[in-house]
């Protein structure tokens, strides 16, 4: 008589615990993001105890290594993740492969419109929204306020000021940027390209890399090195190397992302209090351009808890979270309202300048073939900068190769 009772109780208990087991939401993030969001995640888990539990997998430090990890698991078909934090350039690829799920049916359009316009970019593919931005990100020009009163406005001014400062031995290097053959070089070039009035792809997917403006842009980058406005070593610089040199006071200008600001304000920085940031230079009469970076959260297609996952995304990207991430880690907010928040501005005076940069962001081509076409551009630019390849030849080759990639894919 006792046995059926025990069996009944244990079945009932397991059924109860099964239905009351908290929903697990697994998120893959690059290590720095996992660290910076950890207190927000803990707070969410505390507030939703017994209902929803977020587990964050701390991915590798390097951007592309995170992509490798995500892709490996996605290819196997059964990814353990519900949400991944993805870079703006991965989105079309992931969407086309059917790995991430459209967020349209969850999104409240009013909430979406509360995002600043620069943060709304880079989240959609073929008319559907696939990603909610966690942090806005765009290229900026950092300048030394102890060496000059005003930052330069045009490419020529930037070059001349850098060269003069180097020649007068005021700094060892003038302008440092990302010239290594990798994605950063494409980001740098996109800004210069627009500064000269050029385009990478036009609205009809026509490749514009061999236009006069493009060639001029590439030549300008080479000239920076030739005349000594930038050290030759920039052709092996990524963000970290550029920041190291600038932080140690060896350079007058640096092209980098907003994260560099908080690094430059640390006590270890030799240029603390001597740095300003502004928009990238552009030819007279042309608007500045700032390459759109940005990371955002996407829900994977094979997640079983999409609705809960969306709630988690909105929690992590709420205004309160953005405020915290901005004040503690310098993450650029995405909500338009926060840019006018007097309290925030008093804490960090760069906010209006960030807003200005966000209004001129340029997205890199939103195509699943982006990695290919960017790689072609990187190799050709690197040949111009390091192997003395004539800019005309290299850019024409870049155009032809890009065209072939687009044609052979049938799109």
């Amino acid at each position: 008589m006792i046995y059926p009772l025990i069996i009944f109780i244990s079945i009932a208990y397991s059924a109860w615990s099964f239905t009351h087991k908290p929903i697990d939401i697994n998120i893959l993030m690059p290590a720095p993001f996992a660290d910076s969001t950890s207190t927000i995640v803990d707070q969410y888990n505390h507030e939703n105890k017994g209902k929803v539990h977020i587990n964050v997998t701390r991915g590798p430090l390097e951007t592309e290594a995170v992509s490798d990890l995500a892709i490996s698991s996605l290819l196997l078909g059964a990814s353990p993740f519900d949400i991944i934090l993805i870079d703006v350039t991965w989105l079309p690829k992931y969407a086309e492969a059917g790995w991430i799920s459209s967020l349209d049916k969850y999104i409240d359009i009013e909430e979406w419109n509360s995002l600043i316009s620069g943060a709304q970019d880079g989240n959609s593919y073929k008319g559907n929204i696939y990603r909610w931005p966690l942090v806005a990100d765009m290229g900026l020009l950092y300048w030394r306020s102890d060496l000059m009163k005003e930052p330069p406005q045009t490419p020529n001014q930037l070059l001349e000021i850098s060269r003069n400062l180097v020649q007068d031995n005021q700094v060892e290097y003038g302008y440092v940027w990302q010239g290594r053959q990798y994605e950063g070089l494409s980001c740098v070039f996109l800004e210069v390209l627009h500064a000269f009035g050029g385009e990478w792809l036009d609205d009809n997917n026509h490749v514009k890399l061999s236009s006069n403006e493009s060639i001029e842009a590439a030549k300008w980058l080479r000239k920076l090195i030739k005349v000594g406005a930038s050290p030759k070593a920039v052709t092996n610089f990524a963000e970290t190397e550029a920041l190291q040199v600038f932080e140690s006071g060896q350079a007058a200008f640096m092209r980098n992302w907003p994260y560099a600001w908080s690094e430059l304000q640390k006590d270890s920085s030799q240029v603390k209090g001597k740095v300003g940031l502004t928009l990238m230079v552009s030819e007279q009469g042309r608007p500045s351009a700032s390459t759109l970076g940005s990371w955002g959260l996407s829900i994977l297609q094979n997640s079983h808890n999409k609705k809960a996952a969306y709630q988690v995304i909105r929690y992590l990207t709420s205004q309160a979270s953005q405020k915290k991430l901005f004040t503690d880690y310098g993450y650029t907010p995405t909500s338009e309202k926060l840019f006018d928040d007097v309290q925030l501005i008093s804490k960090l005076s760069i906010l209006p300048e960030l807003k200005r940069a966000l209004s001129v962001v340029q997205a890199r081509p939103m195509t699943p073939l982006y990695a290919q076409i960017s790689n072609v551009l990187q190799v050709e630019l690197s040949s111009i900068l390091t192997a003395n390849k004539p800019a005309e030849d290299a850019m024409r080759l870049a155009k032809d190769k890009t065209k072939r990639i687009i044609l052979s894919s049938g799109s």
Binding site: A97, G98, A233, N236, Q250, A387
Partner: protein, 288 residues
Amino acid sequence: MNIILLLPAIFLLCLVFFIPLLRYFWLSLHAYSVSTGLELIPNGGVNWLRLLEDDRFWITTFQTVRFACVSVSVEVVLAIFIALLLDQKFKGIGIARALTLLPWALPTTIMALCWRWIFNTPNGPIERLISLVSNEPLNILSDPHLAWLATVLADIWKTTPFIALILLAGLQTISKDLYEAFRLEGGGKLQAFFTITLPLLRPYLLISLMFRLAQSFGVFDLIQILTGGGPAGSTESVATYAYINAMRFLDFGYSSTIILGGFIVLLLLSLFAMVFYVYSRKIFISKL
């Protein structure tokens, strides 16, 4: 009966070698990329035609063969010296042998990061040394001609001990009586090296040559971390090219084709090494 005993080995070989190879071949006959929505679509060898016309594949293959041949040749010569040294009897030989192996024991990724720092401009130690004698920095990793030499140097540093170890094992199988007899006949030390040591080391040289050729042909981690294939694509290897095609471009069909293309080149290279081995026997015998 013999066959049965071989079965486990054959099974293992199939599992880790033939099945993946067949799978690559099968994939190479399909369009299988993000453009096809990751669907397998047979495309009748278009990937192979594309490989033949792909300049970048051939440049990359040339760079890989150059990397493999230069680094392995230098390594073998250096390793012979090191092995001869380690074959001597002196105090602390055990420690010396262990120390020699240290570079081989270090993980390539960590070692490559260290080299990246060593070659770094402007703050790396090499540039600091250069700055003592010249105002112009070398910009090692920014110069297509120097960057590939930097990868070769890093590879030599790491894998010479491995060859030295194999050759040391070979040296110890050579009977000391041979040298004794040679000396009594009035032969010099240098002569002994060319008439006894080198010919008897041949099988060991072949083993290390084969191992290292295959290994350096597949070089990936060192390049990926040290240079990322740049500058101007000058250090890209077949493996890194296949990798970006698969993991960055999501073009698995073409990536498989690149891997197989590289495999065929490696087979030819190994064949060449074998022919060289057989031919070297003739040289040595004619000397005797």
